[in-house]
């Protein structure tokens, strides 16, 4: 047998090792904690032109399971079971243009939601329709998004569209049904100045939800509450008025400063305004309340990436204000109810401020975060207050490496603690019904609690060099322990292909 010259073996070995490094760097580019330093900048679609080193399409089937021993937030229920199929794609069309997209379908259940009979609680709280019975709900969600970005000379520009359609319903009394459509359009640009990209984007959102609650059982015809915050309700139009819809709209702007080569100062500012009007179907499209939401976030930091290590330090502050106007309705004239005045009866101020440090070397990344969180809710008359503040700290470690030429592993673990430092509850308990008193006490019990959490996960990607398609599997679990002797467990499983 003819011997292969040593020089050819050496060249072959070098090529294999170069391929391994290449795979490793592609994998690192997609999954390393380092992406954390770019996640906010990538809200600007113009920045997507160099979001990833390499094109990819990922098709996955995944499942999320979450269960709390007692509901930390009654409106969100005790957990969920949500299988989902998802396709993500990022494709480089030319050296200067990319397209990306996502399509997803989820169909699952939420467990034991109480005092909430609408979808999208996070968007609409406190202006929801509710009762004290509640129960499990079915949820079905369709999500589509896509975008295009290109660069020419010093300019980058891009646009993105997202559409979400969702329905949530219950098959026993109280039979709530919410149908959501949510459309977001975003356009952005950036300009290369020296070592930096200076960018900006604008966003528009249109939102609509129809929500109704029915009772089929003859003896189950209890009323629904048109909630207005901290246990209050719009009593005049509660009860049998159970068909409502929400009309929402919003805008957002963002400004970014990002270094070209992952080293230098970076900053991100985002300001968003949304409003959601709750309208009664049964009173000739009469507006009951309008929720105004203002979100402002700013991040500033410095990072440096070298061949051997990378590090980043950043400060972040976000402020989220909700103000709900109750429309004081006059006496009906024919089918029309005049609005006498608007009163901003409910306000919520939410602050989150933290510092983070990220350090990466070899195949490791460590991310440490420490911060302060506070939320103040207030209702004007009779005055009600619910406030809490926490300090928190969290450490995440990630080990990410190509093992041989075929297998890539991403293993990560997180531990953290959020400790209660201050809380306040002011309620006119003498004028409250027993069920609302119980609801408020339950809510406050978990708001003033401290939480400890631990999370661990692994993702393995397998793609022999002769395959054009890779396989991956992912599993992670998270456990949260509350100082009220209750806990939450979460499990995420995902299987898929990537090419």
């Amino acid at each position: 047998m003819k011997r292969i010259p040593p020089i050819i073996l050496l060249l072959f070995g070098l090529l294999l090792s170069a391929e391994a490094v290449s795979l490793d760097s592609v994998y690192t580019d997609r999954f390393a904690l380092w992406r954390y330093t770019r996640s906010e900048a990538l809200q600007n679609p113009a920045m997507m032109t160099d979001a990833y080193l390499k094109s990819f399409t990922q098709l996955s089937a995944q499942c999320d399971y979450q269960k709390q021993s007692d509901a930390f937030c009654l409106e969100q229920g005790t957990g969920l079971f949500m299988p989902e199929i998802q396709v993500n794609s990022y494709i480089r069309l030319t050296s200067s243009s990319v397209v990306w997209g996502e399509a997803a379908y989820a169909n699952g259940k939420h467990f034991d939601k109480v005092y909430n009979n609408v979808a999208d609680l996070e968007l609409l709280y406190p202006d929801i329709i509710a009762d004290s019975i509640g129960g499990d709900t079915h949820r079905e969600r369709y999500l589509f998004s896509g975008g295009y970005a290109a660069e020419k000379g010093r300019w980058q520009w891009g646009g993105e569209l997202k559409y979400r359609a969702e329905q949530e319903y219950r098959t026993y009394d109280p039979r709530m049904r919410s149908i959501v459509s949510d459309l977001t359009l975003r356009a952005g640009t950036s300009y290369a100045v020296g070592r930096y990209h200076l960018g900006g984007f604008g966003e528009g959102n249109i939102y609509r939800q129809t929500a109704d609650v029915d009772f089929y059982g003859e003896t189950n015809g209890m009323g629904e509450l048109q909630m207005t915050g901290l246990g209050t309700s719009y009593v005049r139009f509660s009860g049998s008025n159970r068909d409502i819809f929400y009309e929402g709209k919003g805008v957002a702007i963002g400004i970014d400063l990002t270094p070209h080569h992952e080293s230098g100062w970076f900053s991100h500012l985002r300001h968003a305004l949304h409003q959601y009007e709750r309208i009664s179907d049964e009173y000739n499209a009469m507006p009951l309340t309008t929720l105004y939401r203002q979100q402002t976030g700013i991040t500033a930091g410095w990072k440096r990436k070298t061949a051997n290590s990378n590090q980043a330090y950043l400060l972040h502050a976000s402020y989220d204000k909700r103000a709900s106007d109750e429309h004081v309705v006059g006496s009906a004239s024919g089918q029309d109810y005049p609005i006498l005045t608007d009163l901003t009866m409910y306000k919520q101020h939410h602050w989150d401020v933290y510092a983070a440090a990220l350090y990466g070397w070899d195949h490791w990344h460590l991310l440490a975060r420490a911060g302060y969180l506070s939320q103040r809710q207030w209702y004007a008359y009779e005055e009600r207050k619910m406030e809490y503040a926490r300090i928190y700290g969290e450490l995440t470690a990630q080990w990410l490496k190509a093992v041989g030429n075929d297998l890539m592993l991403n293993i990560h673990a997180t531990g953290g603690y959020a400790g209660h430092i201050d809380s306040k509850l002011l309620m006119p308990f003498a004028n409250m019904t027993p069920s609302i008193t119980e609801y408020i006490n339950h809510t406050f019990r978990y708001q003033k609690a401290s939480y400890t959490h631990a999370e661990a996960g692994i993702r393995a990607d397998y793609q022999p060099t002769s395959w054009s398609t890779g396989l991956f599997a992912e599993a992670s679990t998270r456990w949260t322990f509350c100082s009220e002797d209750e806990h939450e467990s979460r499990l995420h499983l995902s299987l898929g292909i990537i090419f």
Binding site: A187, G200, G202, E203, G204, T232, Y234, V235, R236, V251, A252, I253, H271, L273, Q275, Y292, Q294, A323, D325, E326, V328, V329, G330, S331, L340, T341, D342, L343, T344, K347, A380, Y381, E382, N431
Partner: protein, 116 residues
């Protein structure tokens, strides 16, 4: 788009002018001159069903600070009045309305009926 966003960002102001000073005046007609009233006035906010009560009458009227809005009014008590001939009477009375608007320093007249 940015300009639109900035314009809308300045749109909403919180409406914090919550309270108003309302005046409820009892009306016994042209032939009665009301001297004293000893009664409880209950005003029920139609939105929240919250009830504000007062007995602080001055002559035939009572002033009360309350949340701006639509109310039901219920006044019941004892009234002292002079009739057209100048004779003094003391009688039980009631005055009610199922809808009054108390928004901007409103003055509302309620007709009384005697209970005996």
């Amino acid at each position: 788009m940015l300009t639109t966003a900035l314009m809308i960002s300045a749109c909403h102001q919180d409406n914090e002018d919550y309270m108003t000073q309302a005046t409820i005046r009892l009306d016994g007609g042209d032939t009665l001159k009301i001297e004293h009233v000893q009664a409880m006035a209950h005003l029920t906010n139609l939105n929240s069903r919250h009830v504000v009560s007062t007995a602080d009458f001055t002559g035939a009227e009572v002033r009360i600070e309350l949340l701006r809005g639509a109310y039901q009014a219920h006044v019941e008590g004892i009234i002292s009045y002079d009739d057209a001939q100048g004779a003094r009477h003391v009688k039980a009375f009631r005055a009610v309305s199922d809808y009054i608007e108390l928004v901007n320093n409103s003055e509302v007249k309620l007709s009384i009926i005697f209970l005996d």
